[in-house]
């Protein structure tokens, strides 16, 4: 199935994994339903999962609700025990705070928490609800929760660019990335608009952009989880679902054109852009300056820049590309001309050796 090659992590890394494993065993599992906008049906999916778990004999309680209840939802909620939040009044506002003490006393196996991004009033044990959830998890209670894209802190700027609005409260992305499971709740944008006349609802185009963003975020989470699963099991794979572009930088080749094209390709595929340079000592001052300028441009375009040291350019690129699960290598036409004693140029050798990635040869344009 998968190409398995031995990978021996260093002892520090092994220790870290063992500790992480132990922590995970004691900790409750976190499952997050991610929606791209209000009313995609996250809450319904979350409580429906709670209902099904309860039917299978698990000890499930509801720790927090949010928003208006639809008849569908009410039917489900009636079948699950609730530990209602404590209603607090502060500065003329009403706040529902999770009743941690009551939940710890009751100690269910799973707790359902809606509205993960809610804040608690000043003076509470934790300023944010997600921190309350963290405590539940630390005490070995599994949590199923739901969150909207607009409430993920690191995504708020991008969401604001689309909708012109920014939600006041948020959850750090890192907390969500640590979740054991994340499920996307997808729905056609038309369905949301038909469902309610809400002035706060973004228009169809904005919804579509949010939807794309949520799907790509989820794909990145899956990619990350898959990578850590493979690392934990010592599995090296030569494939990936994501397009990963490696631009080979030299002083002479048409690096600017390659980097710009690499950047465009990576953006179109929502993939990764990596730039690599194989260290050579023989560069004169002018070439060195050109190379440094190219490295700077690569960084500006958001590339992950690496320097390799290897006398053999081709070997260096092939090993690095495999390790990084690269799908396309961008290369200048005449990065280096063939020397008279060599039967093949480096470009030809790379093409001959490239099994897992495409080689994209760029025209050599003088002065670029």
């Amino acid at each position: 199935m998968v190409d398995r090659t031995d990978r021996r992590p260093d002892p520090e890394e092994l220790l870290r994994r063992v500790q992480a494993g132990e922590r995970r065993e004691k900790r409750g599992r976190l499952k997050v339903f991610l929606g791209y906008a209000p009313r995609v049906g996250k809450s319904f999916r979350m409580f429906d999962e709670g209902r099904r778990r309860k039917q299978r004999g698990q000890d499930v309680v509801i720790g927090a609700l949010q928003g208006k209840l639809t008849p569908d939802l009410e039917a489900i909620l009636a079948s699950i025990e609730a530990i209602p939040p404590v209603r607090e009044h502060y500065a003329g506002q009403m706040w529902d705070v999770i009743n941690l003490a009551a939940i710890f006393g009751r100690h269910p196996s799973t707790c359902l928490i809606d509205g993960l991004a809610f804040d608690n009033p000043p003076g509470s044990r934790n300023p944010h609800r997600w921190q309350d959830v963290e405590e539940l998890l630390a005490n070995g209670i599994a949590v199923i929760t739901a969150v909207n894209l607009q409430h993920i802190y690191e995504k708020q700027e991008a969401v604001e660019r689309i909708t012109g609005k920014r939600a006041a409260n948020s959850v750090p992305q890192e907390f969500l990335l640590e979740a054991d499971e994340m499920e996307v709740v997808d729905a056609p944008t038309e369905a949301l608009i038909g469902r309610a006349h809400d002035a706060n609802m973004p228009d169809p185009r904005q919804l579509a952009e949010l939807r794309e963003m949520a799907l790509l975020l989820a794909a990145d989470v899956v990619e990350r989880q898959l990578q850590s699963y493979l690392d934990d099991h010592g599995i090296a794979v030569r494939w990936g679902a994501q397009e990963r572009i490696l631009v080979c930088l030299t002083a002479r080749s048409s690096t600017r054109a390659m980097l710009e094209s690499g950047h465009r390709n990576a953006a179109r595929f929502h993939g990764a852009l990596i730039a690599v340079y194989v260290e050579q000592s023989r560069l004169d001052g002018a070439d060195r300056a050109r190379l440094d300028a190219n490295l700077e441009l690569a960084r500006q375009l958001g590339a992950d820049v690496h320097r390799l040291t290897n006398d053999d350019f081709v070997e260096a690129i092939i090993d690095f590309a495999r390790e990084q699960r690269v799908t396309q290598v961008f290369l200048g036409h005449s990065g280096r001309e063939r020397r008279w004693w060599e039967p093949r140029s480096p470009v030809d050798r790379l093409i001959d050796a490239a099994e897992d990635f495409d080689v994209r040869l760029f025209p050599h344009i003088e002065g670029q």
Binding site: A267, R268, H270, D352, L361
Partner: protein, 370 residues
């Protein structure tokens, strides 16, 4: 004859059997029925799943058609009967299915197109691994060569794609509980296809592909929202200049009789779709070549809506370069030339094309062996 408005196609897209596509489709069918919409089940595959079967209660079924083939009876959707019944909406399970020989149409998606052409809306289900453009990637990840494929343009043309998600852990729990398959089959499935890594990779592909479909539809729609954003924020939305290509890219695929041409065609077309580039294919004909194989590849390319050309020339590289220049091609996709002995200095076709087409990008597509 009056022109009928084409039906609306919605596809529930999953990443594996058991994620709940059919359930979601039937849930929607029930909601439509409650709203008084004239809806029928054109085809439903129960797979012996109790919860899913319960979801069909009260829905009208158009009986399947029995087709005899090789002394066995096969059941297919009775497309003609659905057309005669003429509902407002039909639900059709397993969009990628290949019909048994003797059916009117080779593929179920073609049956669905017949319904859409008659003005019937269709809600269908499909798994991502059936998409033509992902065929090689799916094989690479899972070791399974999916035979039943749907050309990408069929999905691009759908009005709505909805991704049906379930985490791999939850799916494997379902398998363990015997919800998806019978217990002996379930264990085998979990050891083979339904591994954690396979499921995660397929799931990621489905998410990325659905995002791609959403983006394609956005690109096709007018940018009315710009005005709204200006109105609400008082500033123009950030331009996505870095994502726009400076000029329209045109991709040329060089196909031959080599079986690898299928991989090459899929890869070139996939890149073209993502770059929103035009895509054409060329074959340079030489005497004594395998006509059947070449015709198969040309027709495969045409099925994916790639314009194909055959030119006759003695010198392949020159012919490709001339054609590319004439067609204002910006990227040439080709397979790797056959390996040469290490001492050989003879120029390969790839080298020759690269040498003759210096102003274009030349992409040598990897064989990606497992």
């Amino acid at each position: 004859m009056s022109e009928t408005a084409k039906g609306h196609l919605k596809v529930y897209m999953g990443y594996a059997a058991g994620v709940g596509k059919t359930y979601r489709m039937l849930e929607e069918a029930q909601a439509l029925r409650r709203d008084g919409v004239d809806i029928v089940v054109g085809y439903f595959e129960p797979h012996g799943r109790k919860e899913t079967i319960a979801m069909t209660e009260g829905l009208e079924f158009v009986p399947r058609r029995v087709i005899r083939y090789n002394n066995a009876a096969f059941e297919e959707m009775d497309t003609e009967a659905v057309l005669r019944r003429r509902p407002k909406v039909a639900v059709v399970d397993e969009f990628a299915h290949t019909n048994v020989p003797g059916s009117e149409r080779a593929k179920r998606w073609q049956d669905v197109h017949a319904l859409l052409d008659a003005g019937i809306d269709v809600i269908a289900t499909m798994n991502v691994q059936h998409l033509e453009s992902l065929n090689d990637q799916v094989w690479h990840v899972t070791g399974v060569r999916v035979r039943e494929t749907v050309p990408d343009w069929v999905i691009d043309d759908a009005d709505e794609i909805v991704f049906v998600d379930l985490t791999p852990q939850a799916l494997r729990n379902r398998l363990e509980r015997g919800v998806v398959y019978a217990p002996d089959k379930a264990q085998k499935a979990m050891d083979n296809f339904f591994t954690e890594t396979n499921l995660s990779a397929l799931r990621e592909m489905a998410m990325r592909h659905t995002a791609h479909e959403v983006e394609e539809k956005l690109a096709a729609a007018p940018a009315a929202a710009v005005v709204d954003i200006l109105a609400t924020t008082g500033r123009a939305p950030e331009p996505k200049a870095d994502v726009e290509p400076p000029r329209k890219e045109r991709i040329l695929i060089c196909l031959t009789g080599n079986p690898f041409s299928a991989v090459l065609i899929r890869r070139g077309k996939r890149v073209a779709d993502y770059l929103q580039a035009d895509c054409v294919a060329i074959h340079v004909a030489a005497p004594g070549e395998d006509h059947d194989a070449i015709e198969r590849h040309l027709s495969f390319a045409r099925n994916l809506r790639i314009e194909t050309h055959v030119v006759y020339a003695a010198e392949i590289a020159m012919a490709v370069a001339d054609f590319a220049r004439e067609q204002r091609i910006t990227q040439i996709f080709m397979g790797r030339s056959a390996p040469r002995p290490w001492y050989s200095r003879r120029e390969t076709v790839v080298q020759a094309v690269a040498a003759h087409s210096r102003e274009m990008q030349v992409i040598i597509v990897a064989s990606r062996r497992r």
